[in-house]
């Protein structure tokens, strides 16, 4: 990789705020060849624009100029469309490889981004209930004697993968020269008693070596799809990770949200490009993959005074992947009738985000119900895993 292409890759990271994380499970497990990618859409992605409920009689009036027009929306089913920038996801939906959960929410009613993201990622039943991420605990729960490494690609590692299982991380822009390798060996001696820096450097150097071995992990500036293809190459590498998490930022649309075009549309294009890149890069492994795109909460049902939307409650979750079972929307539609809105302002939830996550972890990665109810999502026995998501 040339210096300039490495710089470009870094710019791409900065430009779209993409973080990749991956965690390999062991090949011997029943689900060992299954892949799971979780995309966290930060800033509260507006579900009513992701999957506009065109069949709901109140939609157009509530949304006014930011409603997605029926003639621009892509086809999902008789009641819902998809945002025009979600072309890949719409095409997948047509093949039974993408579905929408239009009204999901975290278990507590919170409208703070930061607290809601914490809850989405810790998988707790209540705020501050846990300091570790549910995905890390899911990896830990796959049992003794099944050591699992986790890999994050990006400058920071999000809460969802923090926990007892040590994580690796990688982002483009590193450069392993003989000098760096030699200094890192000297540093390892200085880090012997350091529980933070010692494991991090060892893991980072190892991952950098893997990246070099994969060769030419180059992506151009703002080439989101190329970046996702690159992430997929980690997933498909020999002994590579089984689970990946991607963070996308910029979904906080308080003003000038736009409709078919505009601010939100640009970010949904990034999301669609990531899914397209994953599909392309995973190749045959796509048929064994589930992608889940989730956000901390939805936005207000009504357009606000500045052409945007404020912090709301239920939002949309997107499921995609070749391992998905064909079907309609996931969960019920609460409607946008005035008396159906939560606190008179937000789309009401019909499904707990944890139910979807649990359904995928059980049926795709083979975790058992008891572990999911207690360890991965504490105190969640009442939130049954969503069935029939995975083929």
């Amino acid at each position: 990789m040339t210096d300039s292409s490495r710089r470009d890759a870094l710019k791409a990271l900065g430009a779209v705020g993409v973080t990749f994380l991956a965690a390999p499970a062991i090949a011997a497990s029943p689900a060992g060849d299954r892949k799971l990618v979780v995309i966290v859409c930060r800033g509260a992605m507006d579900g009513l624009s992701v999957a506009p409920p065109l069949g709901d009689p109140d939609y157009l009036a509530l949304r006014g100029p930011i409603a997605i027009p029926a003639d621009r929306a892509l086809k999902l089913d008789a009641d819902f469309g998809l945002h025009p920038k979600l072309a890949t996801i719409a095409a997948l939906a047509g093949q039974g490889q993408a579905r929408i959960a239009p009204a999901v929410a975290i278990p507590e009613r919170i409208r703070s981004h930061f607290e809601a993201q914490d809850l989405l990622e810790t998988g707790g039943a209540r705020l501050y209930g846990s300091a570790t991420g549910w995905l890390n605990r899911a990896l830990a729960a796959s049992g003794p004697g099944r050591p699992i490494k986790a890999l994050s690609i990006g400058a920071q590692s999000p809460l969802i993968l923090k926990g007892p299982i040590e994580t690796q991380s990688w982002s483009p822009g590193g450069r392993l020269t003989p000098d760096i390798t030699r200094v890192s060996q000297a540093l390892q001696e200085l880090y012997l008693g350091d529980p933070l820096l010692g494991p991090a450097l060892a893991s980072g150097m190892q991952t950098e070596a893997t990246a070099d071995a994969l060769g030419g992990l180059s992506v151009g500036q703002r080439d989101v799809k190329g970046f996702a293809v690159t992430a997929a190459r980690f997933l498909t590498a020999e002994g590579g990770p089984q689970v990946a998490v991607i963070s996308l930022t910029g979904f906080d649309t308080h003003a000038n949200q736009g409709a078919a075009e505009g601010q939100l549309a640009n970010h949904l294009q990034v999301l669609d490009d990531v899914v397209a890149g994953l599909q392309e890069g995973l190749g045959p492994a796509w048929s064994r993959t589930v992608v889940v795109a989730a956000t901390e909460f939805g936005r207000t049902a009504h357009i606000n005074g500045t052409g945007g939307t404020d912090h709301g409650t239920a939002g949309a979750m997107i499921l995609a992947g070749g391992a998905l079972k064909r079907g309609g929307i996931v969960g019920d539609w609460p409607t946008l009738k005035p008396d159906a809105l939560f606190e008179n302002r937000d789309l009401a939830p019909t499904l707990d985000v944890r139910q979807v996550f649990k359904g995928v972890l059980r049926d795709h990665l083979g975790l058992d119900r008891r572990t999911l109810d207690s360890r991965v999502f504490p105190d969640s026995a009442a939130a049954a895993p969503t069935a029939n998501l995975v083929a």
Binding site: F114, S152, S157, L190, A255
Partner: protein, 480 residues
């Protein structure tokens, strides 16, 4: 521990934990009385300003409006002559060349001076941090700039972050918290970043006549992040009421008289009429002052004292700070009625803040600044010396991903990839700044915190630059 060792250790704590890392000679300056050295940096007049003639928010906003006019003109021309080529193709940057159409390219060319201005601002601020002889004053300032985050997520906030920090934050960091809160909440940078400038009451003149209405973003973040904190027990109705009180807080535009352009402007035609109730208190209808009264009460609220005390303790001492320190700072905030100079004095005299173990892991910006200070140099070029490395390390200046600012948690900055990135940057930096006497430099930078293991590694290094790399990457230098 002898008295001499203790003084040396206290000097090392003063320059790293409260300061920005030792410059050559700084440990000696702090050593006679480290607390007095810190207290002497508290100044009622506020923080230092970065050097150079940096435009104020008015000039930056007017330049942005001029740019937008230019874009309109270019659009009109493009319509008239669709095949027009940009006038100076040889001066284009890569991203300009990659832009799809001539129109987009012209836009990027026109935007460049604005973005160069932001880069100048970032360089000036980093140079100030790298060379200041009053580093506690600067660290205290950077804490407040992060507390009241304005981020370059859109062009209009990008061009205003620098002026925001210089105009709303720096003058008030040792004044009253209420003044800092009002200054930040009313500055054009914050009004743009949190979508306040065009928020209108539904029953205001503008709300009735035009399709304008409420935006609650600024109100929510002031309560959640800047003052009482998310767990203070306020409701959605409190947020909405505060947002209604804030309607009318706006920015003077092109049509206003020159002295009002690009500055805070109260627009009565946007203001929601009527009395407000926020967190159990009722405020009579008061136009512009309605929000000021609410801000005054929020600033004086005990929950604000809790929130600020905890954040300061986390920033300066430990991700999980001693509870007694939080209580001490909270009491100081309440007793002094939010006097930030008094709060700073309470911090640097608190025994809990002088525990020898360095528990804070440096953020990328702290690591970069302290590296420059260690070698007694300053960054020279914004893109190469500051923007590229900090972007790679996940902390692009002025670009916190969300309004809660940059993380304080070690685990967020010490991911495996980030540690390798620090190492590769440190190696390149050390090549450019290799010292004649690496051990002397390490002693000047770390003082008694230089361990024998690190000193030995430095003496065994193959080259001067490798020795400096090891010092910069040592556990002692990575923490403060």
């Amino acid at each position: 521990m002898t008295a001499g060792v203790s003084d040396d250790l206290r000097a090392a704590i003063a320059v790293t934990r409260f300061g920005l890392g030792a410059r050559p000679g700084e440990l000696a300056a702090a050593r006679p009385d480290p607390v007095a050295w810190l207290e002497g940096q508290i100044r009622p007049g506020g923080a230092d300003q970065p050097a150079g003639a940096l435009p104020d928010s008015r000039d930056r906003l007017m330049a942005l409006l001029a740019y937008r006019d230019e874009v309109k003109d270019v659009k009109a021309e493009a319509k008239a002559a669709p095949s027009a080529e940009p006038s100076e193709p040889q001066a284009m940057s890569d991203s300009e060349r990659r832009a799809k159409s001539p129109l987009q390219r012209e836009r990027k060319v026109a935007l460049r001076p604005l973005l160069d201005g932001v880069a100048d601002e970032i360089l000036a601020r980093t140079v100030l941090a790298a060379e200041t002889a009053t580093p506690f004053r600067e660290r205290w300032t950077l804490f407040w700039a992060n507390h009241f985050t304005v981020s370059a997520v859109k062009v209009q906030s990008a061009v205003l972050v620098g002026p925001f920090e210089r105009e709303a934050i720096r003058p008030h960091v040792f004044g009253r918290f209420e003044d800092l809160l009002v200054a930040s909440s009313s500055h054009p940078g914050m009004l743009e970043y949190l979508d306040q400038a065009r928020s209108a009451g539904p029953n205001s003149l503008a709300g009735q006549r035009r399709q304008m209405g409420l935006n609650e973003n600024l109100a929510r973040e002031i309560m959640e992040l800047h003052s009482v904190g998310a767990d203070a027990g306020y409701s959605q109705a409190d947020v909405t009421e505060f947002a209604r009180a804030l309607t009318g807080w706006s920015i003077g535009g092109e049509r206003e008289p020159a002295e009002r352009q690009g500055r805070f402007l109260f627009r009565p035609q946007l203001h929601e009429p009527g009395a407000r109730t926020v967190m159990g208190r009722t405020y009579p209808a008061g136009g512009e002052d309605e929000a000021r009264r609410i801000l005054a009460d929020l600033a004086a609220h005990p929950a604000t004292a809790d929130h600020i005390a905890r954040k300061l303790a986390v920033h300066f001492v430990a991700d999980e700070p001693p509870p007694s320190l939080v209580v001490r700072l909270r009491t100081s905030f309440l007793d002094s009625r939010g006097d930030l100079a008094e709060l700073a004095r309470s911090l640097v005299t608190a025994p809990e803040a002088w525990e020898p173990a360095a528990r804070k892991f440096k953020t990328p910006n702290e690591f970069l600044v302290s590296s420059y200070r260690a070698v007694g140099a300053v960054p020279a070029a914004a893109p190469h010396d500051v923007l590229q490395p900090l972007t790679a390390l996940g902390q692009r200046p002025f670009s916190a991903p969300q309004p809660n600012g940059w993380s304080e948690q070690a685990s967020d900055w010490a991911a495996p990839d980030a540690v390798v990135k620090r190492l590769t940057w440190a190696a390149g930096f050390a090549d450019a700044h290799a010292p004649a006497e690496p051990v002397t430099l390490a002693q000047a930078a770390l003082g008694v915190r230089l361990t024998s293991a690190v000193a030995t590694a430095i003496t065994r290094a193959e080259s001067r630059s490798e020795a400096l790399t090891l010092m910069l990457m040592s556990p002692e230098f990575q923490r403060r």
